[in-house]
Symmetry: C2
Subunit: 237 residues, 2 copies
DNA sequence: GTCTATAGGCTGATAGAC
DNA sequence: GTCTATCAGCCTATAGAC
């Protein structure tokens, strides 16, 4: 997609199609994201990335100044995209309940589009030394869930809690669930597991429900029904 | 600890103290657990492990048939210990509320004793191809939290939910929280983060509370007070 | 059981042709 | 911008002395 430098005459005679430099970069970013998320930074030889991207491995050094540079570029784009999506959701949601639901579903959605992201995310936080260049995005993501908690308290949907607790509980279980999903599916497919694994939409619904009920102001048990339930301040204990 | 082959005469003249083979194995397991959890399997040269353990790197091959063998041995012991603890808790708890609290605190406790375990756990699940030899322990751990959900429903503390959803929500956020704690503390110490990070006991309490409230049978809002609250079967909706 | 020395494989980077 | 060829460094494993 998006090739703009095709020569006016015949298509290039090489066996593999000629591409934009931009397309090359893009292919490397994409292939790298997949492989790094599967095997971690140290587990991936640069040659494998080049091969999956369909380009020569020397191009990694040319375009990204080496393996580490490619990795950082991938991280930055992943974190930035996640932060941007969540912030967009926050701005669009009319109330906390909607914001919570959209927040949860954004994770599921992003996972569908880029299966490697949650794992990439997790691996990086695990590594301990967080890449300085992704810190702004990371703080932005934390900011969204913090404000979710604060907004919920303001609107009377939640009682007051440390917003960071909400953040870690939500994001932690989301990231864990989605980044381990491939392993679960594989294990289930091989018949290694003696029970049915929950699917992602059930999990998202569960998190939503438990958050709404778990954080409801005392004495109020909120309906979690999907119809836009008449919203009033709720009875007291 | 536990050295049984000390010679009858003078202590050995070597510069470093002579040790049991068992002590050597133990030192390697311990050093390996720390390093693998910090940097992942591929990120750790065998020499670093030997050095931290204070033994020669060739001993890794001798005792564990190579790097991979050491890694698997570490995984097995970590998973087995976790499973054993959780099962012990389950057997000892008098009711679901106690079991839940003990379950959560076991994670915090184990983290204090062996800081690398949650990360090791997470890295392994992330890798996708779960080591067959740890599968039994993994299933045992899942079994404990499954039965926690079932027991809670039986005792009227929880409403019915898919036990696996409870499992993933609890274990996911626990493992995430604890395995990222070192990174968080480091970031906070460097002043990179503009807010106070929650400590682990607050997080554990939050999870307990949100689970109790979130799963309470409809119409019942359980007190989460710590005094051993008079326990009756609980009112219905 | 432990250590030293070394072999052999693989990896990331780059010089230089195209 | 892209590719080929090459190289130096590191890493695991092991043979053999102690």
């Amino acid at each position: 997609m998006m090739r703009h430098s095709a020569p006016t005459t015949a298509p290039p005679p090489r066996e593999r199609e000629r591409r934009d430099p931009a397309a090359t970069r893009q292919a490397l970013l994409h292939a790298g994201a997949e492989l790094f998320s599967e095997r971690g930074f140290d587990g991936v030889p640069i040659e494998d990335i080049a091969q999956r991207a369909g380009v020569n491995k020397a191009l990694i050094s040319y375009h990204f100044r080496g393996k580490r540079g490619l990795y950082v570029a991938i991280l930055q784009s992943a974190f930035a995209e996640m932060a941007a999506r969540l912030e967009a959701i926050e701005a669009k949601a009319k109330n906390t309940r909607q914001a919570l639901r959209a927040f949860l579903e954004a994770f599921a959605q992003l996972t569908r589009e880029r299966p490697g992201f949650p794992t990439l995310f997790l691996r990086e936080v695990l590594a301990g030394g967080i890449e300085p260049s992704v810190l702004p995005s990371l703080l932005a993501i934390i900011g969204v869930s913090r404000r979710l908690a604060e907004r919920g308290a303001r609107e009377g949907l939640f009682r007051r809690v440390d917003p960071l607790l909400l953040h870690f509980a939500l994001v932690g279980s989301l990231v864990f669930f989605f980044s381990t999903e491939p392993a679960r599916l594989r294990a289930a497919a091989q018949g290694l597991v003696p029970f049915a694994m929950p699917d992602s939409s059930a999990f998202v619904r569960y998190l939503e429900e438990i958050t709404l009920r778990g954080l409801a102001p005392s004495g109020r048990t909120p309906g979690v029904a999907h119809p836009p339930s008449n919203r009033r301040k709720g009875a007291r204990a």
